[in-house]
Amino acid sequence: MSTHETEYPVWRRPVLEDESLEEQAEHLRRRHLLLDPRYPWDMNDDVLKPMYQTSRTFWVLFVALFGLVMMGVVTWGFQIYWGLGITGLNRPINWGLFLVNTVYFIGIGHAGTFISAALRVMKVEWRRPISRAAETVTLFALGAAALSIFMHLGRLWKAYWMLPYPNQRQLWPNFHSPLMWDFMAILTYLTGSVLFVYLGLLPDLAMARDHTRGWRHRFYSILALGWRGTEKEWAHLETTLNIFSYVIIPVMFSVHTIVSWDFAMALQPGWNSTIFGPYFIIGALYSGVAAVIIVMAIIRKGMRLQYFLRDEHFNGMAMFLLLLTFAWAYFYFNDYIAPWYHGEPAMKVIFDLFRRGWAAPLWFLMLFGNILLPAATLWQRRVRRSIPALVVIAIFVQIGMYLERYLIVPVFLGYNELPFSWGIFVPRAGVILTIAALAFVFLGYLVFSRFFPLIPAWEILEGQILQGLRRIGRALLPTRTDVH
């Protein structure tokens, strides 16, 4: 292979007349992944090698996460036997941690598809190396969300009664029920997300098939479905990805809107708001983008992907996060001020609770994590390019968004229109199951990362061929060729 190196197209650099241009070119190369081409065979190795490495840290993590998941399985078994009471659910708080988790995980699941589909539609180039890492977050977060709903079911073994089929019970599910909206929205989104990840994976699976032996070769041969990269295959794949992008964005919006309707349709004080749909979507994207930043930092360090994930990608994600901070603050204020002005008695009690009651620490921590900290720091380029700082901010956003959902679900529910039934939620066994659900997401990601290339090699190679340098006056500037 090495004999042909110089003939590979991206190796043909523009001829630069003087030294200052050389310096500029070198500077751009270091900064931008798409201007720093590698030979495809090297890139394939960079993508495939981390999949074979199972270091000691990997196994420690694997065992720890697996243990946590197993702990959750046992707790779930107890819960199925003894009933939902062991999770602290009782009147009036019939929705507890499981619903918080469902909303939280669906929220995280929003970013993956959004980054991938929306940035693809808008042809944003820095999406290329992070699109699959983000989509994979969607896969496992949605899995955890679906799991949380099943955890919330009493008489779990009757779950299949929701399916529409002629049966001996003479019962037919009511497709106008809000539970069905949820079920259909999540099903559509999960199906779309799985297929979307798989479609983007096809060429990389073929690449993995061509460069592995043994069981891995057989595994990838089956999954690659015989991909050869013919013009017909590429043209159809591109069209399919475009159709998917355009379809999956409205589906994504519908999912969290419907989740918000689960609350907004009820006459519960604090829930019956007309702004919940967009407010939840922004919140979902917000926590999702923060989650992707954390995951990017982890895989960059853990799988040594420093070549692929650079400052420019963290910078882009951080700017996205900053934008969402302001959007979220705007929606939160909207959702807050209207009930505050109404002065409905139950809402007065809740707002007092937030300002100086037992929920005040949670409320102020949420405001700090979601608004104050990101808005105060992310406008600095220095912060946006510092990965540790970004991770800290992203973790605070996660905490803030989780608390926001916690305040909405079990705290609001404890203060309804009937004061004699007010109560405070104590999560109990739900805490273990929450930790287990989180561990499930991490474990899924960990296992996925050893079987599937997390970096879309073909998308980066394509971007590197399409992007180049152009001299205008004294400056050397990156340009991009749009072939579509």
């Binding site: 292979m1 042909h4 590979y8 197209p9 030979y39 495809p40 065979w41 394939n44 036997y81 009933g83 299949y160 529409p164 001996q168 003479q170 019962l171 037919w172 009511n174 497709f175 106008h176 029920s177 809000p178 069905m180 909206w181 259909m184 099903l187 559509t188 199906t191 779309g192 297929l195 479609l199 060429p203 073929a206 690449m207 061509d210 460069h211 479905l225 015989g226 991909w227 050869r228 990269g229 013919t230 013009e231 017909k232 043209a235 159809h236 069209t239 399919t240 159709i243 998917f244 379809v247 999956i248 409205p250 589906v251 519908s254 419907i258 073909w458 190679l461 394509e462 072939v483 579509h484």
Partner: protein, 341 residues
């Protein structure tokens, strides 16, 4: 007349495009030329005609299919399994829109994915001309040509800079092996489906310990009875209204009897009569008639039992809990006791 396939590898797009031109000159039709690459090259780059694709109409068919499926589930089945709820439409509009939207999108996604697999004949089983170097950045040009042309094509490919050449017989058609595999996969999918259906139609039942049918239950007149739970409310002195202290019998004093008499006149005389004999203005309208409060049966009741009747009602008599506070009720109890004397 046997066909041969010639596969050549190139480093980049320009020489590939030149090669395609050369092959055209040699009379190889465009359909017999396949370009394979590790990254997508637009047809214009390689000097090829744009591909005709049918994915958009397929997606549309999927959308229509999803739309119709949703209409079936939201409009047709509610009429088949009608559960009329007073004043509510059988098919409410806005929720129907939500389900129709989701199904339409799901149909679009599934049809597009299925359409992709069908259009590019996936999964492709059997032998296809291919070279693993294609996923290493090389571009492969595969030409299926007549045997007589092979030498000319080979030399043309070498001239345009092919660094690797492979000639082979054209791929044999799919064998019965494929069918066998498909049958195996089908059987693999059918088994869990059938097992699932057996459960769904209750032909197989797992006796789970917390099925309600199997829980220990004691009929009304059977023993032994379970002890009352610790937090159960006793009949005497119950807290019936939050914030009002537990009710205690009120001592029989002149004040209490006077209050009881006034409250009795307001609340009870309509039916029980001014002297409590059960002959009031309304008593003729009730079967059985209101109780004679002076009778031995009533007077044999304990104070607490009379209090409970006032609180909860008895037979046709409504509960007085809304009209009388617990203390008031005790005054009325004292008054009822005094009626016989």
């Amino acid at each position: 007349m046997a066909n041969r396939s010639v596969l050549a590898l190139y480093h980049e797009a320009t020489s590939t495009a030149d090669t395609i031109d050369r092959l055209r000159e040699l009379g190889v039709p465009d359909e017999s030329i396949t370009v394979m690459s590790g990254i997508p090259y637009a047809p214009a780059i390689l000097g090829r005609r744009p591909m005709y694709e049918r994915l958009a109409p397929i997606a549309l068919i999927g959308a229509v299919g999803g739309f119709l499926a949703a209409l079936f589930l939201t409009v047709v089945t509610p009429h088949l399994y009608a559960i009329p709820v007073g004043g509510q439409p059988l098919v409410p509009g806005p929720p129907t829109i939500i389900i129709v939207f989701e199904f339409t999108m799901l149909g679009t996604l599934l049809a597009t994915f299925g359409g992709l697999l069908a259009e590019i004949a996936f999964p492709a089983v059997g032998r296809h001309e291919y070279d693993f170097r294609i996923t290493e950045g090389h571009i492969g040009v595969l030409a299926v040509v007549d045997e007589s042309l092979v030498e000319q094509v080979e030399s043309a490919l070498s001239e345009t800079g092919a660094h690797h050449l492979k000639v082979a017989d054209t791929s044999p058609p799919r064998g019965p092996q494929t069918l066998k595999r498909l049958a195996f996969v089908g059987a693999f999918a059918a088994v869990p489906t059938i097992i699932g259906l057996l459960f769904a139609y209750a032909l197989l039942v797992i006796p789970l310990p917390n099925q309600m049918v199997n829980q220990a239950s004691i009929a009304y007149d059977q023993g032994p009875r379970l002890a009352a739970p610790a937090e159960a409310v006793p009949v005497q002195g119950s807290v019936l209204v939050a914030g009002v202290p537990a009710s205690q019998p009120v001592a029989v004093t002149a004040d209490s009897l006077q209050r009881g008499s006034i409250l009795f006149t307001i609340n009870c005389v309509q039916c029980h009569g001014p002297d409590g004999t059960g002959i009031g203005r309304m008593s003729g309208y009730f079967v059985p008639p209101p109780a004679d409060l002076t009778s031995e049966r009533v007077q044999a009741l304990s104070d607490q039992q009379i209090f409970l009747v006032l609180t909860q009602g008895w037979g046709l008599m409504p509960s007085m809990a809304e009209n009388l506070l617990p203390v008031d009720r005790w005054d009325v109890v004292n008054h009822v006791r005094s009626l016989q004397k």
